[in-house]
């Protein structure tokens, strides 16, 4: 019997659940223009997963994939806040580094 696989399934479940939380908070405090940074973090985590032991590799891979998905959700979350479906932060949000470049790229959404 392979209990570790089930553990990884549960881990992905909680990481995806945490994704809902950080996307909502991230959009609220930082704004959706920060999307390339979780995307980059996800890619770095997945690359790092190539060089560690199998269990750590699995945990990093799951976390990285969830970060990448979260990055694609931030723009939609901003629209939800605009529509009043979520709390909208009335404060102007901090511009991310390289904001002018980011504004030129179409935020990915699936």
């Amino acid at each position: 019997m392979n209990i570790i696989g089930l553990g990884l399934g549960l881990f992905s479940f909680f990481i995806i659940g945490f994704g809902f939380v950080w996307v909502i908070r991230g959009e609220y405090y930082l704004g959706y223009l920060w999307w390339p940074y979780p995307l980059l973090l996800g890619i770095i985590l997945i690359i790092a997963s190539l060089f560690v032991s199998p269990i750590w590799s699995a945990l990093l891979g799951i976390t990285g994939a969830s970060c990448i998905w979260g990055a694609t959700e931030m723009k939609e979350q901003a629209v939800r806040a605009d529509l009043g479906w979520f709390r909208r932060n009335p404060r102007p949000k901090p511009a991310p580094p390289l904001v002018e470049v980011i504004k030129k790229i179409h935020a990915p959404h699936l």
Partner: protein, 145 residues
Amino acid sequence: MLQLTGLWMAVATFLGIWWGHVGVRWLEAHSADIRPPALILIVIGIALQIVSLFASNLTLSGVSSIVGITLLWDAFELYRQQKRVIKGHAPANPNNPRHAAYLAAANSHATTEDLLDREPSDPTAQTHSWQAANIKNQKSRVRKI
């Protein structure tokens, strides 16, 4: 040798979440009754957990458990998607008799329009309410001085 376990888990997680969004929307919009697809998702989800328990290697075991658990969640998500359609937060499919009934109901909020299909406002710009609050604040500060 590169450790490919994590890459497989990443692919499983990403595709699991992708299907959880795109597939669930499609299934809910095309099912006259969401109970049969929900039941199928639950059965496959549990079967994959059993596959995971008896898989011979970590990669297969992890991938089946991850995909299985996302499918189990998708069964629940079908109900949440149905609620979104009723609230008008997701577009209704007029060709689906269940959705047509939502659209025809009295005081219905359901709509065929996809309200999320638009660009968000600029997050770095000041909103009017915030500007107004700032001006009010400054005035009260001036008065104190």
